[in-house]
Symmetry: none
Subunit: 410 residues, 2 copies
Amino acid sequence: MKAEIVTIGTEIILGSIVNSNAVYISKRLAEMGIETLYHTSVDDDFNRLKSVIEIAKDRVDIVITTGGLGPTDDDLSKEAIASALGLPMESDTKMEDELKYFFSYSQREMTLNNLKQAMKPLGSEFIPNPKGTAPGIYIKHDDKIIIMMPGPPREMIPMLDNYVVDYIKDDHIIAVKSINTIGIGESQLETDLKELNINMEGFTISTYASKGCVEIKIIGKSLDKDYLEENTNLILEKIKSKIGQYIYGYDNSSVEKVIIDTLVENNLKLAVCESCTGGNISSRITSIPGASSTFDRGIITYSNLAKVDEVGVKESTLKEFGAVSEQVAIEMALGLLSKSGSDITVSTTGNAGPTSMGDTPVGLIYTCVADKESHQVFKRIFSGDRDVIQERATNFALGNLYNFLNKKLT
Amino acid sequence: MKAEIVTIGTEIILGSIVNSNAVYISKRLAEMGIETLYHTSVDDDFNRLKSVIEIAKDRVDIVITTGGLGPTDDDLSKEAIASALGLPMESDTKMEDELKYFFSYSQREMTLNNLKQAMKPLGSEFIPNPKGTAPGIYIKHDDKIIIMMPGPPREMIPMLDNYVVDYIKDDHIIAVKSINTIGIGESQLETDLKELNINMEGFTISTYASKGCVEIKIIGKSLDKDYLEENTNLILEKIKSKIGQYIYGYDNSSVEKVIIDTLVENNLKLAVCESCTGGNISSRITSIPGASSTFDRGIITYSNLAKVDEVGVKESTLKEFGAVSEQVAIEMALGLLSKSGSDITVSTTGNAGPTSMGDTPVGLIYTCVADKESHQVFKRIFSGDRDVIQERATNFALGNLYNFLNKKLT
């Protein structure tokens, strides 16, 4: 079954509020095995809404709308949708009585507008609204299902979860597994995945790049729970065998969280010495709750003087090789290691731009990871604006720190 | 002019991410006097996207799409939209050369996929993407305008603000003046603005809170340039007279940029000593190009040991008052001042959560600003999640640093 979500309301169209209803409904539908194909938002305009519904009912099986069910004049969803389906409106006498009872019970005067809430497209059913006065509407028309719900999430969500799911459920199950990678670009990853040639019925595999990491999402849909589980694992193993070295976690874990967890588990202290990343590595590390139990300190040696003062980089090294060099990255990491008494350190030195520094091109980065037994230094040239280079350099350092830790502990 | 915003991507349709692009674009269009009538979201499916564009171009004047411009196979926005408009694709040789240069410069192998980025619908123009590799596309076709932009907001927003606005503006002149404030909450600011009772034809005044700062946006729309200029200034003066002490800049200047500019102008060196903000202050400072000429170093003394080692906080002070105390904030700022030889230092110590540390409640923050003549310490309790508290504490420290500098230099 295919669905379209239509959110109705001027505040969405003006950008005054985020369309959180579409997010919630899409997720719930996916869990139920119903594929959402379109989201449409439109303001409270009779003709525009009518045409949106005419389009929607022709291209999906289920149309779910939110908004425009209230008692005021600009709430015209029921009328516009009835018109799109060619249905007249009828008044529901039971609902009329309930409304009258509600208003007399709450000792409020009932306006004529309130009676609008008893109106519905001919042949439709009301859906109870436990959190408000505007009921929802269910219409089965020409093999299509149309569901109307109120706009406020606090009314919409309970109506969806308690009533609407029963109108639309089918027997499919959806399984979602995500793999988090670092150190490999999205296009390279896609090329690698293509080589695996995975064609499993009911499964799709897609990649999402964000903050220098790439997430691989495996989504399966089937009537058979065991089939989903077995094949999700099969696909997972295939991907691991191909690009295992770039995987740092599963199901939306961040690389800094995985690093902190590993350090805490092994009772290791971390210190960071940054130049071009300017505090970004420390900031990512300390964004994780509990970082204080493993993160000892960060030193941002931005000036050459600070590099000498703080972590004992030799003036001769700076002079001979320049601040952006393998040698300085190593002296930063080793200097901080001996000074701080931490178990592991990571350093960065580079040029984040926007202008090249002497011979040092924009984007050139060195990072060094060190512990008491060994150290490793890595070089990369990144492109982009200053903030992009800083972010990529941060991920580059975190990815190498993760790999170093991983090798050290296995 | 009427617009439709089409967001393309499976992650939107699955409800994995919120459609923040539609919100941002709608707001910007409204500022320009362009009415958005529809938002549509669709997944990366050639035929569905094609039909969405066919519908959109018939019902509005401007169609703005985001997403699906990347190098991978499921990025097919350009092809599907060209097909909806009946246009063949052509390869842009200039863009091909640029891509080849980009990959050779960054010493990465170019896959065949990457060459896709040089393809565009016949007769269209590329729109520069300063923040990524996928350019945007501008098409004028049968009196309709189609604009394609990349999906990631950090690429889309600068493209929209710097280039796309020029393609879609009409005869009206829009004057936008923004006032950047720090140290006053959005609701207090709104109350203050309401008291000014500004009602000027063609003008709207709105507030946007972001990262602990609040921006006041004065937007005027008119055919008459002089009317706009005069009244923008009039409104500006009125607002300055009311809340002048909270204004740190105009037109989207960040407080860190204003601080750096002031320091450079006065040939002053800055050093930062952070605890609870964990590198956020240094990271904000070093995000500004040219920071290296004034930012000497940052020390993140996360552990107590680091506070003693690095900036000479006394063990007795830590014992008597605790790490989160006025006294420790002062010793951090003064210790770094004498150690680094910088002209001005700022320190933070606090509890960013999620759990209280002994007597120290979540959100309690001290910040101290010091120079050779004096120091000032400030206390605040913030609420929110760990990242929100860290961000607010960072802005609190930067705001106080800005005020300290301002008083020092006038």
